[in-house]
Symmetry: C2
Subunit: 457 residues, 2 copies
Amino acid sequence: MKKYLLLTLGGLLAVASSGQTEFQTDSTIIRSIYSEVLANGECYGNLRVLCKDIGARLSGSPEADQAIAWGKDLLESYGFENVHTEEVLVPHWTRGSTEYGYYESGGVKYTTNVTALGGSVGCQGEISGQVIEVKNFEELEVLGREKVQGKIVLFNRPMDPLLINTGAAYGGANNQRGRGASEAAKYGAIGALVRSLTHALDTFPHTGGMYYEEGIGKIPALAISTVHASELSHALEKDPNLTYTMNLSCKLYDDVIQANVIGEIRGTELPDEYIVVGGHLDSWDIGEGAHDDGAGIVQSIEVLRAIKALGIPLKRTLRVVLFINEENGNNGGKTYAANVEEFGLKHYAAIESDAGGFSPRGFRIEGNDEQYELFQSWENLFEPYSVHQFRRGFSGVDIRPLKNDTIALFGLIPDGQRYFDYHHSNQDIFENVNRRELELGAATIASLVYLLDARGW
Amino acid sequence: MKKYLLLTLGGLLAVASSGQTEFQTDSTIIRSIYSEVLANGECYGNLRVLCKDIGARLSGSPEADQAIAWGKDLLESYGFENVHTEEVLVPHWTRGSTEYGYYESGGVKYTTNVTALGGSVGCQGEISGQVIEVKNFEELEVLGREKVQGKIVLFNRPMDPLLINTGAAYGGANNQRGRGASEAAKYGAIGALVRSLTHALDTFPHTGGMYYEEGIGKIPALAISTVHASELSHALEKDPNLTYTMNLSCKLYDDVIQANVIGEIRGTELPDEYIVVGGHLDSWDIGEGAHDDGAGIVQSIEVLRAIKALGIPLKRTLRVVLFINEENGNNGGKTYAANVEEFGLKHYAAIESDAGGFSPRGFRIEGNDEQYELFQSWENLFEPYSVHQFRRGFSGVDIRPLKNDTIALFGLIPDGQRYFDYHHSNQDIFENVNRRELELGAATIASLVYLLDARGW
């Protein structure tokens, strides 16, 4: 099958030089990219190794080191050029072996499924207190120190189910997770419980980054599953004085040096102009980081593999960057952009995949009007693959520090309805990624790379 | 939240009558439909009952009778009008308790995961024979009676991975399943093994309908998992004389009477014109018929529930039809259409959901140019929900017999990449349906119903 595809590409390049329209040439090349990835794609197999042989790989962990070594080896095994790592200073936080939470009401003990939020301090033994439930910071402020002092605050605002875009629903709920502990501590709370950020009503707690405000005492923070958050809320209606007990053994160590991993296919005409594709290699420390963002990592590598296998000539240098530390600091993205700036590497465009390995739908762009208009003119090339939702919007956390007046940044848009069912939980595992959906995303990115290089501004 | 939505609708209807554009009114009503279904939808809970309390429900089975009773009770519980059943004569085939297949090579026995194809005859004890592998009927013809006589034919053509539309890939491979046994029997084969129709390389066999050609001897037919079909193929390369043994205990009984289930919201101005929404209540006898087509059933019911809950007035009568026997005969669809013809019930439009409860993407229409153009003009109303792929194409098996010069038929298009991973296998279970994806499909159908009634031809 591979042979067949390569012959097809040879044919099309010959035809392309003999009067075929640009649209026909582009259509044929894009079709060859999808065929190559669907027939010979290696991203699914690569994801299996990353998820099953390495697994969760939080920045600073030995598993993240393993993932960096795996990434470098893999890029070298594909024969990419200039494969190297770029040092990045990253935080080193560990969950530890203890984390639990339960409440007692009417003499009965109810266990809740919890997981420490990333960055939380640990406890010196169990903490117990009454629970005060709020939906947002405004309610907390109204309650004030009188009602909050000495208590554990339950932040129980669900993601808004009415928003079609689950990312927007996530954005509307995640300040509880990121800043809830510090907000609660301002009023004297001793701990924070945060409803897991998912639409699913289930028993899996979802972790994620949280940050302490300077000058505010640090209190421990747990994510609680949506089912148990709802149960606790009901229990509080009946028994407002129930006692919640929590314990967690997180620790923050000194920063450590890890790395971004970089590989290239050098450009034929403009080798000093770069197009970047990437995702982040680190994940949270539960689950396997399959959708977040193993998918983006293996898709980005597949882009280079497919373009190389098909022999599509690129004028510019195509770089894959496996960023480290997106989840709790973005030091990989920041370091990469700082080095680009320092060494004056002209970055023409960057594409990130970090919204899950689901059926792709299109791209969001951050760019100027000229770039946006050209981008929109390509929609019909993507329509046969149903990936032609081309919109303005946020690109990706890792590539965002590259933003300047000339670069165009793109984020792959996959179907997002299921993403938060898995996100940052022990459900984000290889088995929940579909091979074809993953491959279609990779082919979609590779097709945009081809167009950016061949037809760009 | 429900109260809020109802107030919103009251407000919008007031505004609609005071100079709002049709587009604004339609947008607001469609938004209210999505909000109602996402906030208060009952389809997911209904699907749980259908899948978990009843489960698989092949036509002719006691479970299909239970599903018919469940459907009628549910439509009545929602207060729909004219709830009734419509008798349908359906086949009654049973798998029986025995089904297995294995091969022996080099003195070692290898078990293969198999399941009888629906409609297959059983064996009178084990059948053993050499295996001849083909990819299609042309290869079979070339081999001829000399090579096929007395053997078991392995039809091992995979679904084409290069087709973006998985339904097209299914269509390109399923004549092996439907007609393979009779084609093989023409050359004297004693049994047929058919590669399961799925893109997934796994160990789950997928059943589905097969039909014997008149005048050709009936030989038993098994679906074999894709992994085991591939393993058997490799084994044949090494040992072309290996022996395969199969046994199955299927039986075909006399036809029995079951029923379509029908409920209505009567129209206010044109009650004798009907808009139908529906799916099929029967499923194959393994798994739970969750995507195929429990999803279509509960979505269709949800359409009426949401429209009634919101108080959206419809000029025409909206009917939900829970069709029986789509999987092995389509007698439900044929009987429904015959009765519509006999009683002269004017059917204005029909919408079917029978492609899985995945994220919806749009609709296919079978209709005349006027209908198609109007339909296309509504695309931008659906764009905020990313369900605006409005195309010509096949609507649905159950509603297709209604086709005439005036009716417009629609099929919901969900994302199809994962559908055949589950389809007709024991993986088609409730747990593999996502609540939001299911609900978005229901809201999309309800929105089209509103537009057809309010703005149609």
